[in-house]
């Protein structure tokens, strides 16, 4: 049994007088210990809401969450607030996108690290401080003794993200969820943080859920990749298979629209036409159909079922045939 099993997770936001909005629509995936699973997609595809739902961090009012999130056999969605608080930080760690707004600006870094240790591991302050120092050392913060006494604004962006990772790892959680951990950082710092996370997963055997919009990050880090579009997983495959042969037109289109460092200069990009605003609801057909170069008549009438094709899950009526070049150039 996998460490984390997410089944049919659906999150519906309902506001008074407005149509309910399905942010996440029946997402399922497994994470094994020591494995890195990626959730990829553009803004609004539901990847962050998925992570917040797993962590139990969505507001109670106006939110309807269905499905199961079983962690080590227990359904996290059924736990009370108090039970969830005990698990968050101890069994489940989370790293957020913007380190400045997720650290408390008026509390020194040291206290923010020891807080977790005292709460979950019952350590005394002194003991926790020694442990905190080791943690900061492990995530590569130079001169940790001094940094422990400093406030978040005194640290650079990369250092803050390292501190946040140290806090997330303080109790050696078996599962770490990273929501765009490097998006706010420069490329050279991003490379530092990614290699640090890779190391930690290898050394500690932590399971990692990596949420990102950057296919380059996924290519280097994740074992299994889930591509999300409009709240549903449209393609799920191991990374080598996915990048070698993207089958869903959306995955295919994404890869064709990214300029690559190792491509010839002045080669034309093939963008995906339109924008997310053109989506149709999944209940009517395929949400991607209005933007899809492969769309058939059936795509706007019938919701494509999730099919298992040679070890990958695919939700498409007319997938890309392997070996074909990028779809016909479309002018938006």
């Amino acid at each position: 049994m996998a460490l984390l099993e997410v089944r049919d997770l659906t999150v519906v936001f309902q506001r008074k007088g407005e149509e309910p909005f399905r942010a996440v629509d029946g997402v399922s995936f497994d994470v094994e210990p020591g494995q890195t699973v990626g959730l990829v997609g553009e803004s609004g595809c539901g990847k962050s809401v998925t992570s917040l739902a797993i962590m139990g961090l969505l507001p109670k009012r106006g939110t309807k969450i269905t499905g199961t999130v079983s962690y080590d056999g227990t359904d996290l969605l059924k736990l009370s607030d108090r039970e969830m608080r005990d698990r968050r930080g101890r069994d489940l760690g989370m790293v957020f996108q913007d380190p400045l707004s997720s650290l408390n600006p008026v509390v020194p870094i040291g206290l923010q690290v020891t807080e977790v240790l005292e709460r979950h591991r019952g350590m005394a302050r002194k003991e926790a401080m020694i442990e905190a120092k080791e943690l900061l050392d492990k995530v590569g913060i130079p001169d940790p003794n001094r940094r422990l006494k400093e406030y978040p604004h005194q640290l650079s962006g990369g250092m803050r993200q390292r501190a946040l990772i140290a806090i997330a790892l303080a109790c050696r959680p078996k599962l770490l969820i990273a929501d765009e951990p490097t998006t706010a950082l420069d490329v050279t710092i991003q490379a530092q943080i990614l290699s640090l996370m890779k190391e930690l997963v290898q050394d500690l055997g932590t399971a990692l859920v990596m949420i990102t919009h950057d296919l380059g990050v996924v290519a280097g880090l994740c074992d299994e990749v889930n591509v999300l579009y409009g709240g549903k997983v449209v393609e799920k495959a191991m990374r080598h298979e996915l990048f070698a042969e993207p089958r869903h037109p959306y995955t295919h289109g994404l890869l064709a629209s990214i300029p690559r460092l190792d491509a010839a200069t002045h080669s034309k990009l093939t963008p995906i036409k339109g924008s997310v605003a053109d989506n149709i609801p999944w209940s009517q057909g395929c949400a991607f159909a209005p933007r899809c170069p492969n769309a058939l008549d059936v795509c706007v009438r019938v919701t494509p079922p999730e099919e298992d094709q040679l070890g990958r899950l695919l939700r498409c009526h007319n997938p890309v045939v392997p070996g074909t070049p990028a779809a016909e150039e479309v002018r938006a």
Binding site: P142, L155, G158, L215, H240, L261, D262, S275
Partner: protein, 368 residues
């Protein structure tokens, strides 16, 4: 008509750090741009890359005189743009237009698209009667791929990609020679990024524009630029044609930067070697002596690096680099070594030789 459209000579932008209420003293400077020379040829795309805080945006703004440069000049089409004043400056500005990063905050939310586009035309006396203007507006919208019904709408009614198209149409309206695009696609989703990148390229072919593209995304810059300049802490460290730069980076910083960019291909990702830079960008208020990069450079040598600032020199035709040891690094004579990260002081940029006297703030003045 000369081949060079823009020539920037020894451009410097230093922002003063002020202290005190009554006695407003300058206690230091942030050396945002510190001596940059570059040339942009007519019809080419020059890409300026670097990490945040390297001064690339400030350089772009200083060229347009949105920030007054501290020193140096910019020659635009044979005329010294940096000394122009009043009416002459205003007229010249028609020929240099800018596209900004955030399309929503750079468009007035209370102006319709029509009024946004007409404003520039009126200011430069290009509004010749209703008919010709409305024809011109329709041309513009077609050029950037928006429907003509867009004229009556307001910026909030558009998606991010469409807003960026409006920003581009506004720049295009005045028939400029040079368009400075500061991070034109970084606020957009990947699938939309490609649309805007392609649009910029099409417009260049159609109207013979010259671009200065400022961006942090190396892949995007490589894709659209003919020549690329790499900036680090206020100075250019390398400049080459985009093929050469990516095929054979000569400066240690460029090498590290290129090796850090993730490529969406697991086969490439598993094979490639990463040069991980230790530590963070030093503060531009207190830049390291000598070569700015020596504190993080894996190829740093015992001599010269920390004492002498390397000048940009031409190593190969069209390939300039600011490194004392570029030849030796390239031939493999000097091998990289490990670098210990140096603590970057988040200093306030105060130089130690200015004595701190008097109150620093109103509260300090009232409660001594």
């Amino acid at each position: 008509m000369s081949e060079t459209l823009v020539s920037v000579q020894d451009m410097k932008v230093h922002f003063p750090i002020k202290r005190g209420v009554i006695m407003d003293r300058t206690v230091g400077y942030v050396y945002a741009v510190d001596g940059v020379d570059l040339e942009i040829k007519r019809g080419e795309t020059y890409g300026l890359v670097g990490e945040s805080g390297c001064g690339k945006s400030t350089l772009g703004r200083a060229m347009l005189r949105l920030n007054e440069p501290t020193a140096g000049k910019m020659i635009f089409d044979g005329q010294d743009f940096s000394t122009l004043k009043g009416e002459e400056l205003r007229k010249m500005r028609r020929r240099i237009q800018m596209v900004f990063q955030d399309p929503l905050s750079s468009l007035d939310p209370r102006q319709s698209v029509e009024s946004i586009l007409v404003e520039g035309l009126r200011a430069h006396d290009l509004d010749e009667g209703k008919e010709s203007t409305s024809k011109r507006l329709r041309e513009l919208l077609t050029a950037v791929g928006l429907p003509t019904t867009a004229l009556r709408k307001y910026p909030h009614e558009f998606s991010g990609g469409q807003r960026q198209r409006i920003g581009i149409a506004r720049a295009l309206a005045l028939n400029p020679d040079l368009i400075v695009a500061d991070e034109p696609v970084s606020a957009l989703d990947v699938s939309v990024q490609a649309q805007v990148v392609n649009l910029l390229q099409e417009l260049q072919e159609q109207f013979g524009l010259t671009y200065l593209v400022i961006a942090h995304d190396l892949a995007v810059v490589k894709h659209i630029s003919d020549r690329v300049g790499v900036m680090y802490l206020g100075g250019l460290v390398e400049e080459a044609s985009s093929e050469d730069l990516y095929a054979e980076p000569l400066h240690p910083y460029t090498r590290a930067l290129l090796s850090a960019v993730p490529v969406p291909d697991p086969v490439v990702e598993d094979r490639r070697e990463r040069i991980l830079l230790a530590g963070d960008l030093p503060s531009p208020a207190n830049p390291p002596s000598g070569c700015r990069f020596h504190t993080r450079c894996p190829w740093r040598q015992a001599t010269k690096c920390d004492t002498e600032r390397p000048a940009l020199r031409e190593l190969k035709p069209g390939h300039k680099v600011a490194c004392h040891w570029a030849e030796q690094i390239q031939s493999g004579e000097i091998q990289p070594h490990e670098v210990k990260p140096i603590l970057v002081e988040e200093s306030d940029g105060l130089s130690p030789d200015v004595p701190l006297v008097g109150p620093a703030s109103v509260t300090e003045a009232l409660n001594p």
